[in-house]
């Protein structure tokens, strides 16, 4: 635990869309693993590292994210000093272009008022449970200007992938974006650490060169000017770059070793609490190899699925290989296979819906079928 770092989470990613799932919300606010949103993992990682000052940088669609984060109390970030700061784009009458340099100006202010030495900056397309103590220690020891976390997933999660070419001392000498043929299997996890004053310098310099977008890999790409060290993460890291990888990451949770790494061996993952009732399994239910959350009423069959809070699965209905989000209602005599049901979806009696495990069917938020 250290108090010498602050955190900055980039809540959305212009390169990644999850189709209907990210339509109504930022990437980091997409529900995941039964009772979480993707951002819960990175926020918890930061808090579990002793970080008490976290900025969440957003640029649009931030309503559900703000509902979720609130005052930050669920992560113990409702503090008098520091705490949680949501950084929406500055929009004023003179500059209505919200993708302009207001985004960076807002970040600069936030960084300048902090007193910590280091900053951890993270994208929100990766789910992992870690603390950053070891990474910062490695960063200091290496004498690098910037350290980037990677693992050996290479390109298997598809675009966007940033493959690192690392020299024998562990420094980055090249970075390739979505290469046809990967130079190595070292793929950036989109998490960096560096000194806060250096980040302020980099951003100021970028602004004066007319660069308006704040991106982690645009900084890693500065390996010609800066010493960029690569730090390997050996634990489970689930990348979410598309509907397909979202679905795969969800199904991966059914592996005991993945659940152990994400939930049981490290620090706790915090999320907004909902005070739902316990889940009730009725006499007719049959549930196998599935994750279920509170407040559900299960009368039917559930197999190999992830069920979020307050979902109803009615009698004579089978849910197989599905992700069913909060408050969805599935009526009697339905058969759903390889389907992602977003929040509040309603499935009428007798509906049969089968996707392919490589291409799940997505039913949007609040849809009735």
């Amino acid at each position: 635990m250290f108090n010498n770092a602050m955190g900055l989470i980039l809540a959305d990613n212009k390169k990644i869309t999850l189709g209907e799932l990210s339509g109504p919300r930022a990437l980091s606010a997409v529900p995941f693993a039964g009772r979480y949103r993707i951002i819960d993992f990175m926020l918890s990682n930061m808090v579990n590292s002793g970080i008490k000052n976290v900025g969440v940088l957003t640029y649009n669609k931030y309503k559900s994210l703000m509902d979720h984060l609130g005052t930050g109390a669920a992560w113990s970030l409702d503090r008098k000093n520091d705490g949680l700061h949501i950084l929406p784009p500055y929009v004023n009458s003179e500059a209505t272009n919200i993708n302009g340099d207001e985004e960076l100006a807002g970040v600069l202010d936030f960084l300048r008022t902090s007193r910590t030495t280091f900053v951890i900056v993270a994208n929100s397309n990766v789910v992992l449970n870690t603390t950053f103590d070891d990474m910062i220690e490695a960063h200091e020891k290496s004498g690098a200007d910037l350290t980037v976390m990677y693992n050996r997933d290479a390109t298997k999660f598809g675009s966007p992938s940033y493959i690192l070419d690392v020299d024998e001392d562990g420094f980055v000498k090249d970075m390739l974006y979505n290469p046809q043929k990967a130079a190595s299997n070292k793929s950036s996890l989109g998490i960096i650490c560096l000194r806060r004053d250096m980040l302020v310098d980099i951003i100021s310099k970028q602004m004066s060169h007319g660069i308006t977008h704040f991106g982690i890999h645009s900084m890693v790409k500065m390996f010609d000017e800066l010493k960029v060290y690569a730090y390997e993460y050996a634990g489970v890291a689930l990348r979410i770059n598309s509907v397909q990888t979202y679905f795969n990451a969800s199904m991966n949770l059914l592996n005991e070793s993945v659940r152990d790494d994400l939930f049981w061996s490290g620090e706790p993952i915090y999320t907004k609490v909902k005070d739902e009732a316990p889940t009730l399994y009725f006499e007719t239910s049959d549930v196998k190899n599935s994750i279920l959350s509170d407040g559900c009423r299960i009368y039917g069959n559930v197999e190999d699925s992830i069920i979020f809070r307050s979902v109803t699965v009615s009698k004579n209905t089978t849910i197989k290989n599905c992700v069913v989000m909060q408050d969805a209602h599935i009526s009697e005599n339905c058969h759903l296979e390889n389907v992602i049901l977003d929040k509040n979806a309603f499935v009428r009696p007798g509906v049969r819906l089968v996707g392919h495990h490589d291409y799940p069917v997505v039913i949007g938020k609040g849809a009735g079928i």
């Binding site: 693993a33 039964g34 009772r35 109390a73 659940r259 994400l262 939930f263 049981w264 706790p268 993952i269 915090y270 609490v273 909902k274 005070d275 739902e276 009732a277 316990p278 889940t279 009730l280 399994y281 009725f282 006499e283 239910s285 049959d286 549930v287 196998k288 190899n289 599935s290 994750i291 279920l292 959350s293 509170d294 407040g295 009423r297 992830i306 069920i307 979020f308 307050s310």
Partner: protein, 419 residues
């Protein structure tokens, strides 16, 4: 909503001795209930849902778990600027200091707290019932009738009336007599232990009661009869929803089972009257390929690889492959090892049921732990923090208590740990 002319006081200091080992380390209101809750969540949530924002929690017996649980009241939205949840333990003062002698004395000792909030009305609640009740509706009647005190009553079957404190009323529901456990009841209106007093009236009564050295300082036994003898206006408030006392092992077990057998009665999924609780920080629960769950309630952190039937499981319970759990109430962190078969058991925090342990009504006879005083109806209770020996056989109506001295041969406890 949000009335600051009302203060609620929850009497949470009692030991709850009839719950045996379950209340050895924690006060009764902090005992887990219904998979996700503690008993005190019900009166606390009722207060908040009724718009009462100043809630005193009177703690005395084993207060640590209760104080930690209630904390600053945040889970119930009771962390307000000028209101909220206040833990009120007995305290030292110049001259003398006392434990809470009785329910009325507990309020008497905290009359400064109530005075400081300057309420018109005080709601007195107990921390040992499972029910959802709108105290605002009761207060409305109290005000409309111009009452000095209003007592919530519940119509019990006539044959059960002798077990309760019974209120005898006139046609307009005004109370003329209170009888504690009458052999021949004149009415079947049982006091629920929920009172609303006009504070001036109660304040004067508490001072008078305190001056009487022969008083038990109890609301039912002393304060209500005193107000009646003084000719004060007391009314009954009829409540007809779900209401269960969880003061004994068998009633605690039955009330847990009600969640499974008649979920619509207590209706925990009603979003207009949520029961709030301090939520555990655990992932969603998991049912494995070999797991089988029927007619049961589960919550976060459970991992089920065995058979669970007609049982209520709290957070982070593990049931291993080949284990059978039937008609049980398992509290947070309990582990049931491979091949164990337990029925009608209440297992407290963290206890590990060893491999192939057999416990429940299928096991006949008696053992060193048999306790008919606390346990009945074939229910077996395990203390918290025990590791039960593999292959142990435990007859029904036992209370597994690490303080009972038994020979190594008879003992079913391998070791204990602190939870």
């Amino acid at each position: 909503m949000g009335r600051t002319d009302v203060v609620a006081m929850i009497l949470a200091g009692g030991q709850g001795a009839r719950l045996g080992v379950l209340t050895k380390r924690i006060a009764k209101p902090a005992v887990p209930f219904g998979s996700r809750y503690r008993i005190i969540d019900f009166p606390l949530s009722n207060c908040v849902n009724s718009g009462i924002e100043i809630v005193g929690v009177l703690s005395q017996y084993q207060p640590l778990a209760l104080n930690t649980y209630v904390g600053n009241g945040h889970p119930w939205d009771l962390d307000r600027n000028n209101a909220g949840a206040y833990i009120l333990p007995p305290y030292q003062r110049s001259g003398k200091s006392d434990w809470y002698k009785g329910t009325a004395n507990a309020i008497y000792q905290n009359k400064d707290f109530i005075d400081d909030n300057n309420p018109k009305y005080v709601v007195i609640l107990s921390g040992d019932h499972i029910y959802k009740m709108d105290y605002a509706a009761m207060l409305k009647q109290h005000i409309a009738k111009g009452a000095d005190a209003t007592v919530a009553v519940y119509e019990v079957p006539w044959e059960e009336a002798p077990r309760f404190g019974i209120l005898n009323t006139e046609g307009d529901d005004s109370i003329y007599e209170f009888e504690e456990k009458p052999a021949e009841p004149k009415s079947n209106l049982a006091s629920m232990g929920v009172y609303i007093f006009t504070w001036d009236v109660l304040r004067a009564a508490l001072i008078k009661d305190e001056a009487d050295p022969n008083s038990n300082n109890d609301f039912g036994k002393n304060i209500i009869p005193m107000l009646l003898s003084e000719g004060k206006k007391l009314f009954a408030y009829r409540f007809s929803g779900y209401w269960k006392d969880v003061g004994t092992i068998s009633s605690l077990w039955e009330t847990n089972m009600d969640i499974l057998d008649k979920p619509e009665e207590i209706n925990l999924v009603d979003r207009s009257w949520k029961i709030f609780s301090r939520n555990p920080v655990k992932p969603s629960h998991f049912i494995g390929k070999d797991g089988r769950v029927k007619s049961s309630a589960l919550t976060d952190g459970c991992r089920i690889h065995g058979d669970v039937e007609h049982s209520v499981l709290s957070e982070s319970v593990i049931v291993e492959k080949g284990a059978v759990v039937k008609d049980c109430v398992l509290l947070p962190g309990v582990v049931v090892k491979e091949g164990a078969h337990i029925e009608r058991c209440i297992v407290d925090f963290g206890t590990v049921i060893g491999k192939n342990v057999k416990a429940g009504p299928n096991v006949e006879g008696e053992c060193a732990y048999t306790n008919h005083k606390i346990c009945s109806q074939g229910i077996t209770v395990f203390e918290r923090g025990l590791i039960i020996k593999d292959n142990a056989v435990i007859p029904a109506n036992s209370m597994i208590d690490s303080d009972i001295e038994v020979s190594d041969e008879e003992s079913v406890i391998q070791s204990t740990f602190r939870v």
